[in-house]
């Protein structure tokens, strides 16, 4: 088996793996939202309420304000 053929197989299987991963991920996203474990859509708010005085969707515990 020469390097070209090996490349072909590697390319094929890795891509297949990534496609499966991606579609698995779609499934995971919709399932966990249906079960009510997570609400992804709330993050879209980050663009709409983006004044510096608006409350963050989720506070970052690492910044200084929250430590104070």
């Amino acid at each position: 088996m020469d390097i070209r053929e090996l490349q072909g197989y590697a390319n094929f299987f890795l891509t297949m793996f990534l496609v499966l991963l991606l579609y698995g991920y779609i499934l995971h996203l919709y399932r966990s939202e249906k079960k009510g474990e997570k609400d992804y859509e709330k993050y879209a708010d980050m663009a709409l309420h983006d004044e510096i005085s608006d409350a963050p969707v989720e506070n970052n515990p690492k910044t200084k304000e929250s430590k104070e």
Partner: protein
């Protein structure tokens, strides 16, 4: 509850980059229009002696619009958007303000020097990577400074999650860093030999290898300058301007990772010509069609964000710009894969269909999105309303007409020339000499030059409108939340 009320977002860096976006936009488009006209009317080649020929100016056009106009637009919007979605002000960190300022000035001086060096004829001879090594070093430093700004702002953020736009800015940063470094690996000849011009270098790769690396850069530079950061821009400005949350955050997650995966396929048409088994090539094609889904995800997400709000299209020209941009994005991401099909590529390669394809992307998608971003930012950065809505409308229709003229004329020109190159008579002899296939293109080149004039006029109207907005438009007492106010 929080002490951040004392701060305001600091737009000083975003303003500076906005100016260069407009400056380089005008410069790049003037040169573009000139070289388009040179193909139709060759006498125009002699306006500036040896510095004004088509061949010398073409790389100046491409690099000014890519690294001047587009990157300025990306940086301008980044310094605006990142503060807002992270809910942190640049003013909170002296270090970041300093880095931002150095980033801008080094970028601006570097971009001017780079442009002059190309006009003078210092060129590595690689498309979209013409700059010689001293300029490459400046570019790498500028890029790293941007990296410091990105990760520095993220480091002091109040919002824990990164908004969609930031994913794309980060991807742009990493992608270009990797590709640019590998493609521009060169050995300065004066340092090795002690002779000759200090600017000169030779590529580390030779022949076919160099072509592979260059092509890997060339294609992906389009991905990571003309696609990824532009998606970043529209993911912020469309929802914000329309007041509609993005249609689906989940879809944006999928299309982000999907897009990153899809660009694996950028390389795989090398394998089409190599001795890999046939069934594998077929499977490869099938998978790439399967993967169109996530790559269209972003555009569909944009259009669906407007669901039930289509009336905004009629009363807000800004929305019109962004919706048209998304549509052109869909068009060019469909056209690209079609051209990559082996039998289509046999005709399309080396013809004007390729610049035609590039320009539906750049004129229709990239420039429209960046201009919409600037229209949205300017009233907020300068606290004045947009100077004229009717000028926006005029600009929109001029430029839309220009894009349509551009790509239709280049489609016809490309296919005509591709077919003529391969046409044979009944005895199997070539029917046309090369020059026959050039003269036939004259009317299409003239139409393209006209489209350049229209687009450029639209851009000048844009620049005037922004200038008047900054200097003499009505002042705003408070920042508008969604729709941009315009007179």
């Amino acid at each position: 509850m929080q002490s951040n009320a004392a701060f305001e977002y600091d737009y000083s860096i975003a303003k500076l980059f906005t100016y260069t976006t407009i400056l380089f936009g005008i410069l790049g488009m003037i040169i573009g229009t000139l070289i388009a006209a040179q193909l139709a009317f060759p006498e125009l080649n002699y306006m500036f002696g040896e510095y004004g020929t088509f061949s010398r100016l073409r790389p100046v056009h491409t690099t000014v619009v890519i690294f001047g106009f587009t990157l300025s637009g990306v940086f301008a919007t980044f310094y605006y958007v990142a503060q807002r979605v992270l809910k942190v002000s640049m003013a909170e960190s002296n270090l970041l303000m300093t880095v931002g300022k150095i980033h801008f000035w080094l970028y601006f001086v570097g971009a001017l020097l780079a442009t002059v060096s190309l006009v003078l004829g210092f060129s590595q001879g690689k498309e979209y990577a013409q700059y010689e090594w001293p300029i490459d070093i400046v570019i790498v430093i500028v890029w790293l400074l941007w990296g410091v700004s990105i990760f520095g702002l993220i480091g002091i953020r109040r919002e824990k999650s990164l908004y969609i736009s930031l994913w794309y800015y980060i991807a742009c940063f990493i992608g270009i860093a990797m590709l640019y470094l590998f493609n521009n690996m060169a050995v300065p000849t004066a340092l090795v030999s002690g002779y000759g011009n200090i600017m000169h270098s030779v590529s580390m790769y030779s022949g076919t290898n160099d072509a592979l690396v260059q092509w890997w850069w060339g294609h992906n530079a389009v991905a990571f300058v003309f696609t990824v950061p532009i998606i970043a821009i529209i993911y912020y400005f469309l929802p914000k301007e329309s007041g509609q949350a993005i249609y689906s955050y989940k879809l944006s997650l999928l299309s982000f990772w999907g897009l990153m995966f899809v660009y694996l396929w950028a390389g795989s048409h090398h394998l089409l010509y190599s001795p890999v088994p046939d069934w594998m090539q077929t499977m490869g094609s099938i998978f790439s069609i399967v993967l169109i889904l996530p790559s269209w995800g972003s555009a569909i997400n944009m259009l669906l964000t407007m669901k039930g709000e289509w009336n905004q299209l009629t009363d807000n020209p800004l929305i019109k710009f962004m919706v048209l941009a998304s549509t052109f994005y869909m068009l060019s991401t469909l056209e690209g894969p079609i051209q990559a099909i082996k039998s289509v590529n046999a005709i399309a390669h080396f013809t004007d269909w390729i610049p035609g394809h590039v320009h539906d992307g750049t004129l229709g998608w990239v420039a429209f999105t960046i201009m919409a971003g600037i229209f949205h930012m300017t009233p907020r950065m300068f606290k004045r309303e947009i100077y004229s809505k009717s000028l926006m409308e005029t600009q929109f229709w001029l430029q839309t007409l220009a894009v349509v003229l551009y790509f239709t004329s280049m489609w016809i020109a490309g296919i005509t020339q591709g077919m003529m190159w391969r046409a044979v008579d009944e005895y199997g002899n070539l029917m046309y000499s090369f020059i026959d296939t050039v003269t036939v293109l004259h009317p299409y080149y003239a139409i393209r030059a006209l489209s350049g004039v229209l687009y450029l006029s639209g851009f000048l109207i844009f620049a005037y409108n922004i200038y008047k907005t900054i200097t003499s438009s009505k002042r705003l007492t408070e920042e508008p939340q969604f729709k941009t106010p315009m007179a």
